[in-house]
């Protein structure tokens, strides 16, 4: 008897559970709120010009070396230099078909 009396309150409490939308909205605000978006930084280079200059130099060197090693035309060696949040990523495609 006493238990069933308390169970009424338990059910009422359940009904007041936080809705998924409200919880998602709060979490979304915390995750992406205030217009915060990932911004790339260039840490190791003082200026984008310096990065571009060095990228061109390394591209030339890789093209030369790869074309010698794989016995292919320099034009068939594609080198891309990208800067990802302070990391320089170099991707070389060597087409020696």
């Amino acid at each position: 008897m006493i238990m069933s009396f308390f169970s009424i309150f338990t059910r009422r409490k359940r009904r007041k559970e936080v809705k998924a939308r409200d919880s998602a909205r709060e979490r979304l605000k915390a995750l992406v709120g205030n217009g915060r978006r990932m911004v790339y930084r260039i840490d190791d280079f003082e200026s984008p010009e310096e990065l571009a200059e060095k990228a061109e130099k390394i591209k030339d060197e890789i093209q030369k070396k790869a074309s010698q090693l794989f016995n292919t035309d320099e034009k068939r060696v594609k080198v891309v230099v990208e800067e990802h949040n302070g990391y320089v990523v170099i991707i070389a495609n060597i087409n020696f078909e």
Binding site: K19, L28, L31, G35, V80, N93
Partner: protein, 272 residues
């Protein structure tokens, strides 16, 4: 001279429906008489040809074009029914590193004169494949579902696009697999919640529908598969907005699946 407008469909997160949307928007656009090309930039995990039902017609791929083996127009696969709709397929055995953003810019540049609209299907992620896919695009369609992981990934992608020089008015949002009944019950984020989190204009809302699964399995895009009027109307609305028309975004009632008596009777026979 008219040059094609190039849209990239991107999301960050995988499985939100970029490929299906690219196929359906391209088809809906072609049905309006526009010359449309679809580019599958998801090298290694290509699917656009399968969704379009063109997987058996591929001879050359994007990689063959990038390597100068064939001209881009020799690699295009024309749709069986819509002659003004073409696909530039991706290779399954290649990797995303075998193509560069410069290659994509050049290829898209060559295609621009022959088409009115080009849709680029971007792979999931924000690495090389993403950079390739967005390289030649004029505008971006960010596809998300109304769930936190998809929205937060969309937010990162928007940030990346802004850093890459895309203006705010060139980045649009499409909310896919929207469930009106869940929004009504307070179980899902609504459009205003998503819009205010991402701070970009909504180009379209696509409701969750079994029709999409059926059409994908058949390899026939929705507009050609006799989809229900609601889905056709929604796709047509997005296409018209892309063309610059001022078409209102559908409300919750428009997006809800109608359970009319006739539909219930039809579904009973379908199960048998």
């Amino acid at each position: 001279m008219w040059l094609a407008k190039v849209y990239v469909l991107t999301s960050g997160k995988g499985g939100v429906g970029k490929t299906t949307l690219a196929a359906n928007l391209g088809t809906a656009m072609a049905l309006k008489g526009e010359r449309v090309a679809l580019i599958d930039a998801d090298i290694g995990l290509k699917n656009l040809d399968v969704v379009m039902g063109l997987e058996n017609r591929i001879v050359y791929t994007l990689i063959d074009v990038a390597n100068g083996k064939v001209h881009v127009f020799d690699a295009l696969v024309r749709h069986k029914q819509l002659k003004n709709l073409s696909l530039l397929p991706a290779s399954q055995i290649a990797t995303k590193e075998m193509i560069s953003p410069d290659d994509m810019k050049r290829i898209i540049g060559e295609m621009k004169e022959r088409f009115d609209y080009i849709f680029v299907d971007c792979p999931a992620g924000i690495e090389r494949g993403f950079r390739n896919a967005v390289a030649g695009a004029d505008e971006a369609l960010i596809v998300t579902t109304p769930e936190l992981p998809a929205i937060t990934d969309a937010d990162r992608v928007i940030g990346l696009l802004e850093n890459m020089g895309f203006e705010d008015d060139k980045i649009h949002l499409i909310v896919n697999r929207f469930k009106a009944h869940m929004v009504r019950n307070g179980d899902m984020l609504n459009i205003d919640d998503i819009k205010s989190a991402l701070s970009i204009e909504v180009m379209g809302i696509v409701p969750d529908s079994e029709e999409v699964i059926i059409s994908t399995n058949k390899g026939v895009p929705l507009s050609l598969n006799g989809a229900d009027g609601r889905m056709n109307k929604i796709l047509d609305g997005i296409v018209r907005r892309l063309e610059g028309e001022d078409v209102p975004i559908p409300n919750l009632n428009d997006l809800a699946e109608k359970n009319s008596l006739w539909n219930v009777i039809k579904s009973l026979f379908r199960h048998r």
